[in-house]
């Protein structure tokens, strides 16, 4: 048992080739990785070589991202997005990821009708079933209709499909200032992904500010100005019975120009803060001590 087992980094946080990112994560003790499609497609050896690199790293995929603007479209736009979704699902399956992240639509062409949005997401979930994939639907804080987790949960309930759940992202919750009380209404078994990050501003009132901050200046949990809220969020998730992974969804232009080991080390510190200071879980005993406990020595 490793202290970092329930936490993982995201390939989008670091610069460099995929193999180097995986190695950096592994070297500080992480055992899982959230994969970004671009990191696979952009691999010089192609997707197959990228999948091989992931498998050989021994890191378990937390999930695969990201399908954008899927829901609420009609006619040829819908057909186009179904094709894109199929390719994403196939890549997701190839990497051995069990979760595909789908973000709420930002498109002006998409309907605002929550029942139609739910219908499309159910279709996406159906497409994912034969491949053994769960779909985590996340409300972007600048999503056109769905921009809070309360609405993404509403849509998921309307769709009522066992492999469709929500993705929680602390950034969007803090940016949209969604009250955390609504966490209590969520079925913990239908949270398929919990992505954590923080940022340095207290206010992000406009969609533009949220977008820019989300894409360039997120930081690891414990590094930003919402540490108390982040701790509150994680404790509430624990309280309702969430036992899944926590993945660090940190887009940060500075981290993109730092050595990978430096960034990975910051992530490790963040996970340790969450594990010990927030969740108050004890550090695992060294292996010689646990062997004594089991009576193996």
């Amino acid at each position: 048992m490793n202290l970092l087992d329930g936490y993982g980094m995201d390939t989008i946080t670091m610069a460099g080739p995929l193999e180097a990112k995986l190695e950096a994560m592994k070297s500080v003790g992480f055992s899982q990785v959230m994969l970004m499609a671009r990191d696979l497609v952009g691999h010089p050896g192609g997707v197959k070589a990228a999948v091989k690199a992931v498998q050989e790293s021994g890191l378990r995929p937390t999930g695969f991202q990201v399908l954008r603007d899927f829901e609420g479209l009609s006619g040829h736009l819908h057909s186009y997005k179904v094709d894109i979704a199929k390719s994403m699902l196939e890549m997701c399956a190839a990497t051995g990821s069990k979760v595909l992240l789908a973000c709420s639509s930002t498109s002006r062409h998409a309907t605002e009708d929550l029942d139609l949005i739910a219908k499309d997401l159910k279709k996406l979930a159906m497409m994912a079933i034969p491949l053994g994939i769960k779909v985590a639907y996340e409300g972007l804080s600048w999503g056109r209709t769905v921009n809070e987790f309360t609405t993404s949960w509403d849509v998921v309930c309307r769709a009522d499909c066992p492999n469709l759940g929500i993705g929680i992202d602390s950034f969007h919750i803090f940016a949209a200032k969604t009250p955390l009380d609504a966490i209590e209404d969520i079925d913990p078994d239908r949270i398929f992904l919990a992505q954590l990050s923080d940022f340095m501003w207290h206010e992000t009132p406009s969609f533009e500010e949220r977008m820019t901050t989300a894409r360039t200046f997120r930081v690891f949990p414990g590094e930003g100005v919402h540490s108390d809220q982040l701790a509150d969020l994680v404790l509430r998730l624990e309280r309702i019975g969430y036992r899944g992974d926590y993945s660090f969804e940190v887009f940060n232009d500075d981290y993109q120009q730092l050595p990978l080991e430096t960034v990975a080390e910051r992530a490790r510190k963040s996970a340790t803060w969450l594990h010990q200071d927030v969740l108050h879980r004890s550090a695992p005993l060294p292996s010689w001590a646990s062997n004594i406990q089991k009576g193996a020595v």
Binding site: M126, M127, I129, P130, C161
Partner: protein
């Protein structure tokens, strides 16, 4: 004003939006068609026709059609390593094949690209678990689809009677762990299958979840790996066919005389409710299930 009594309480009818009316055929893929043919013949199937352009043979007994696909160009055949035979498709009889296919695609099914050659039937299909397919056939009343794609084997009775009136009873699907809810939702949504309560079971292998087709003519059983089985990550598959019979003991006797062996252990053995044949060609086994009518 409509005063039909059922309307007063809005009693829902079992929906059957594809107009499913039973199983038209089940297909096996194998690169050892003769060996599988022997197994099938011992179970009472007779080869009656061969495909016009591909290495595919049609077997039949009573109302059951069974296709053995040994076409080396078919990825599902080349995927069956070591000569193991696998169920590679189930064809449903439906009201309108094109409408059924279109509806399923609209709901999120993956379409299978047709490989029909000139003058052959294009049977619309969607992908099932693993590499399997579900076909939709609507021409089963006026004429036979086999008359177009298949040539009858000369001198062979095209409609051999079934051993002890056996008929298709159901299909057993092996699924991944914690996947029952997903597949139940899938079959409910796509095919209008309905879940049978856990205390209602048939035959001698009652594990897993059981669903019924909307026509009531066949069942679908979903079986997860046991929780204590370590990392059973075998691909999901259609595992075996169940045959419905009126008299299990008599059928077992007849099939034994044909050379079929049954699983006869302390825990599992032929009884009035059902029986299981021993696996042949790696994983091919059949289940007999007592069917009252």
């Amino acid at each position: 004003m409509n005063l039909r009594t059922t309307d007063r309480e809005a009693v829902p009818e079992m929906p059957n939006r594809l107009g499913i009316q039973g199983i038209e055929f089940i297909e096996y893929a194998t690169n050892r068609p003769q060996a599988l043919g022997q197994v099938l013949e011992s179970m009472g199937f007779k080869p009656v026709a061969r495909h016009r352009s591909r290495e595919v043979t049609l077997y039949r007994q009573g109302g059951m059609n069974l296709v053995v696909n040994a076409n080396p160009d078919d990825a599902r055949v080349s995927a069956t390593a070591d000569g193991e035979a696998e169920i590679s498709a189930v064809a449903f009889r439906v009201q309108d094949a094109l409408k059924a296919h279109t509806r399923c695609i609209d709901l999120g099914a993956w379409s299978v690209t047709s490989q029909a050659q000139a003058m052959e039937l294009h049977i619309p299909a969607i992908h099932g678990p693993g590499g399997t397919r579900y076909y939709f056939v609507d021409r089963w009343q006026e004429f036979s689809i086999y008359d177009i794609d298949f040539k009858p084997i000369p001198t062979v009775d095209q409609h051999p009677a079934a051993v002890e009136s056996m008929s298709y009873f159901g299909v057993v699907q092996y699924i991944g762990s914690a996947r029952s809810a997903d597949w139940m939702a899938y079959y409910e949504h796509m095919f209008d299958f309905s879940v049978i309560p856990d205390d209602e079971r048939f035959g001698i292998l009652p594990k897993g979840k059981l669903m019924k087709s909307p026509c009531g003519q066949f069942l679908w059983q979903l079986i997860e790996p046991d929780p204590w089985m370590e990392a059973d990550d075998a691909p999901e598959s259609l595992k075996r066919i169940g045959f419905g019979v009126k008299d299990v003991a008599q059928t077992v006797k007849t099939l034994k005389a044909n050379g079929v062996e049954f699983v006869e252990s302390k825990e599992l053995h032929p009884e009035d409710r059902g029986a299981l044949t021993r696996s042949a060609l790696g994983a091919v086994s059949f289940e007999l299930v007592h069917q009252a009518s």
